[in-house]
């Protein structure tokens, strides 16, 4: 099995350049409209793209969607509603010329692997969300693709179902020797199943690195929020800190610490034992305070507050727009 070298552009949507090793799982995260789906659909051949995406010596972009050996799992699953679960999974092998009997045998095998072989004769409408998503992933893998693309496969599922499927998916992806791109909205997906994380922001790659690097040294506010951190830019460095490290006061902080902001409370919500406060400042920040403090300071939406954080409680790293993924020593 081969890796994947991507250098592609979907005009007006996304520009991305990265390389993956065989068997590697890349989580793609970023806010809505960042270009995640465009990137994945371009690799699948459903959206025209410029550049190249080389897998196993062939440039995928020079092939039509059906020639590419790429498996795509859609967010809405898109199981064929008139076919049984088994016929859905057998569809790919059949379309590639495998005989009906062999295709069904292979389909049955894939349903087995995902623990849904007893549902083989059911139509998609008779499946639960989690079952349907298992069948959809089995359908994509049954064509033995070089590249597996998962477009938010766990979105819209019940929390418990999503957790079970997440663990299961991690196991399947570990034994899959092709390259996987997993679009997700959840930091936990990136942290549990991915080898590396690619952060898209505004159509470009903002950061690429291991889950640890990305979660400890986030470069975008979106990722910082996903992993529950604040990130602010300070000259040519980025500063990240936990919400617990943020102090809230009604008056301007004394001793004039360098890291302080003034803003307006936007939202207040319980977070574990604490109260999480979202403050509209420049940039937006989150702070965790005790319920007693929240009451004492009367932290209701609209309240003007001062935020500050001690220099000892922050992590500083270089901001480098030119080379996403490089981490300052």
């Amino acid at each position: 099995m081969s890796g994947l070298d991507v250098d592609l552009r979907v005009p007006g949507r996304v520009v991305a350049r990265f390389s993956l090793e065989p068997g590697e799982v890349l989580a793609v995260i970023g806010p809505n409209g960042a270009g995640k789906s465009s990137l994945v659909h371009a690799l699948a051949g459903l959206v025209p793209a410029e550049g190249s995406a080389v897998a196993d010596g062939t440039d995928l972009l020079s092939q039509s969607a059906r020639e590419r050996e790429v498996g795509l799992v859609f967010q809405q699953q898109l199981l064929f509603p008139h076919l049984t679960a088994l016929a859905n999974v057998a569809f790919g092998p059949r379309a590639r010329g495998v005989s009906r009997a062999d295709a069904e045998a292979r389909g049955q095998e894939w349903l087995d692997r995902f623990g849904v072989s007893d549902l083989a004769r059911r139509k998609p409408r008779e499946l639960s969300g989690g079952q349907a998503q298992r069948v959809a992933i089995a359908r994509a893998l049954a064509t033995q693709p070089k590249l597996l693309l998962l477009d938010e496969p766990l979105t819209g599922l019940d929390v418990k179902v999503a957790m079970a499927l997440r663990i299961e998916l991690g196991r399947h992806l570990a034994s899959y020797d092709g390259v996987t791109l997993l679009i997700t909205h959840h930091a936990i997906d990136a942290l549990t199943v991915a080898d590396r994380v690619l952060v898209l922001d505004n159509g470009t790659v903002a950061q690429i690195g291991t889950p640890e690097e990305v979660s400890q040294r986030p470069r975008t506010e979106h990722v910082a929020r996903l992993v529950g951190l604040n990130v602010v830019r300070d000259g040519d460095t980025l500063v990240s800190f936990t919400p617990e490290a943020v102090a809230i006061s009604l008056d301007e902080p004394v001793g004039s610490p360098r890291l302080r902001w003034q803003g307006r409370v936007e939202d207040v919500a319980p977070h574990g034992d604490a109260v999480r406060v979202l403050v509209r400042a420049d940039p937006d920040l989150i702070a965790d305070v005790t319920p007693a403090a929240a009451t004492e300071l009367d932290l209701t939406p609209g309240r003007e507050v001062w935020l500050s954080v001690k220099e000892t409680a922050v992590r500083r790293y270089r901001w480098d727009a030119e080379q996403p993924g490089t981490v300052a020593p």
């Binding site: 790429v70 809405q76 898109l78 509603p81 008139h82 076919l83 569809f91 379309a95």
Partner: protein, 263 residues
């Protein structure tokens, strides 16, 4: 059962009742006026049996041709992006609103013995459409095809292009996707379009008689027979009309549960 939003307003209920009456009363009146005692004799008459058989076979043949030609056209309109698609759809829909007699004249101009296509066809094969059973089928196809195309295009659109995308990523060619995904998904809509086209062909009168005349056994379909009979024998025309009504309603009922779905 009380509607929590209040009683439906009389301004809507009264016209609705009138509309219902307008559609139902003439049919009931026709059934009521039928001379039931004389009906068996009428049904045994040779002209009726000939005309009914001709109507059923030509309408069925026309529906099948509409399927073979209309399905691909509907697919092109639903799935292929090209510059003049809107214009093509408008052109294809023209026969929907065209007076059938005008359709007959247009067909005559095209497929008549001296017609644009009729003359070369005659020279090449010695065959000419007008005044033949094939001419009847041709005029049926001309008036029914737009119904089939528009109905099936709607069904194809509802079947969702995204399923084509899913099929493509699984390695299916567009033909395979059409055959194994699009058509099965659109099947109820395709059948509905077909029934619509068939019913339209069965009732076709103006284009058929203009293009083919009215020859018993070859071009005299039921509507033509009813029209001719009515000029001399009202009761017989009534009986013939009743047969057409029964055939139409029978087909609608037979297909309703199977394909058209319940409202």
């Amino acid at each position: 059962m009380r509607d929590p939003l209040g009683r439906p307003p009389a301004l809507l209920l009264v016209p609705a009742a009138i509309a219902t009456g307008l559609l139902v009363v003439p049919l009931v009146a026709m059934v009521a006026a039928t001379d039931w005692a004389g009906l068996p004799d009428e049904l045994r008459s040779e002209p009726l049996r000939e005309a009914l058989w001709l109507s059923l076979t030509t309408a069925t043949a026309a529906a099948l041709i509409c399927l073979v030609l209309g399905l691909p056209l509907a697919w092109v309109l639903a799935r292929v992006d090209f510059r003049f698609r809107g214009a093509l759809r408008a052109l294809v829909s023209v026969p929907l609103v065209l007076p059938p007699v005008v359709a007959g004249v247009a067909l005559r101009t095209t497929f008549g013995r001296r017609g644009l296509l009729g003359e070369p066809i005659l020279d090449l094969t010695g065959f000419s459409f007008p005044f033949t059973t094939w001419g009847v089928v041709l005029s049926h196809v001309f008036v029914s095809l737009p119904f089939v195309v528009i109905a099936v295009e709607g069904a194809f659109r509802a079947a969702g292009r995204e399923y084509d995308a899913a099929a493509a990523t699984l390695g299916a060619s567009r033909w395979t996707a059409f055959r194994r995904v699009t058509v099965p998904l659109a099947f109820p809509g395709i059948m509905a379009g077909l029934v619509l086209g068939w019913a339209r062909a069965l009732g076709e009168f103006g284009a058929t008689i203009t293009f083919n005349g009215n020859y018993p056994g070859t071009t005299q379909v039921m509507p033509n027979l009813i029209y001719v009979t009515r000029q001399s024998d009202q009761d017989a025309a009534l009986a013939l009309s009743l047969v057409m009504l029964l055939v139409s309603v029978g087909v609608l009922l037979a297909l309703r549960d199977r394909w058209l779905g319940t409202p």
